[in-house]
Symmetry: C2
Subunit: 204 residues, 2 copies
């Protein structure tokens, strides 16, 4: 996620990202970030005035990274089912590479929604184009009739939830075996696609 140049500012951003994502805003310590960056606390405050400002910089970077424009996939000239498969693939790729993102983002959004809201407005994320693609697919009979909001929440939930609940799943279902857990998460790529497709395909 980080193009790691060697300037001090970049080292700080990289270290802060790692610590904030793992511990959250409240759990992270400026000292730990300084250690991870190989510098001292005073220098953190020299580059970013406060812990809040440093966190905002990292959170902004992560949100714009994790909310990419799936819209583009959905605009392509493909059967709707194929678009859904591509969207799920794209998201699960990203999540398998960055499994901590769901837990981190959900935690911070519940702690202080306003920070997230400002970012959404700044970047102009909109659901309407996605809803419209779904509506057209329904009109063409490629998709069962349902509220687009529910379909989006269902698909995102099926992709994202297991990562947010990873410790629970690993312990309860796989006795904390890391390999079995990892295999399960990789299986979900096919599992989620097939589950969603069965749920949304009209019966001929």
């Amino acid at each position: 996620m980080n193009a790691a140049k060697d300037t001090t500012e970049d080292k700080i951003l990289e270290a802060a990202t790692q610590v904030f994502v793992q511990k959250g805003m409240e759990g992270a310590r400026m000292q730990e970030i300084a250690d991870a960056a190989g510098i001292n606390k005073a220098l953190l405050h020299y580059y970013f005035r406060s812990k809040d400002k440093l966190f905002d910089a990292i959170f902004s970077k992560i949100v714009s990274f994790a909310f990419p424009k799936i819209g583009q996939i959905l605009q392509a000239e493909l059967p709707f089912v194929d678009k859904v498969e591509q969207a799920i693939d794209t998201y699960l790729d990203l999540l398998l590479k960055h499994p901590y993102l769901p837990g981190f983002i959900l935690k911070e959004v519940n702690r202080d929604p306003s920070v997230f809201f400002k970012l959404v407005m700044k970047h102009g994320f909109k659901l309407e184009p996605i809803f419209q693609v779904m509506q057209e697919a329904m009109d063409r009979g490629e998709l069962i009739r349902m509220k687009p909001e529910h379909l989006v929440v269902n698909v995102v939930g099926l992709c994202v939830f297991p990562f947010a609940a990873k410790p629970v799943i690993s312990f309860v279902a796989f006795n904390e075996d890391p390999e079995a857990t990892q295999a399960f998460f990789e299986e979900r790529r096919e599992e989620v696609k097939q589950f969603v497709i069965r749920a949304i395909q009209p019966i001929n």
Copy 2:
């Protein structure tokens, strides 16, 4: 959730539950809990030796409340589809009454999984009986063939995820209109049931 007797200990437990669930272990302040209980900080330490111990008491209560034995529903003599509907109904009832639980539990489980693990072992939650019911339904042809782990994760995710992501959904999809958001969450009872049933019913 609390049988509110009037003893000081009960007032503490009630106040601590409210503050911990809303702010989390790291965000909660002993002073705030004391204020909410109408007492002072010293008395918190008199009843519970430390913030950690107080938190453990609350977390234990909440986990055993939120992980009820759905096993019983699944053991009943009903078609598998009906069992699934009942299980979803039961869980969404609980979540609609206690919408903060998913965010709280996910946050704390990611912060310190070991506390949760001890509780699971103490209460002896097991998935095997649920898996077995699913396996039998597959053998009878009432359920499409799939790994039981995925079905459980899918159903739980569809129920739980929207609550953990409520601020995001409310803002992005409903412009923070509380009534529209509430209506959406109530619709999910039927939505989730139909979505799951379509996804798991064998094609005749």
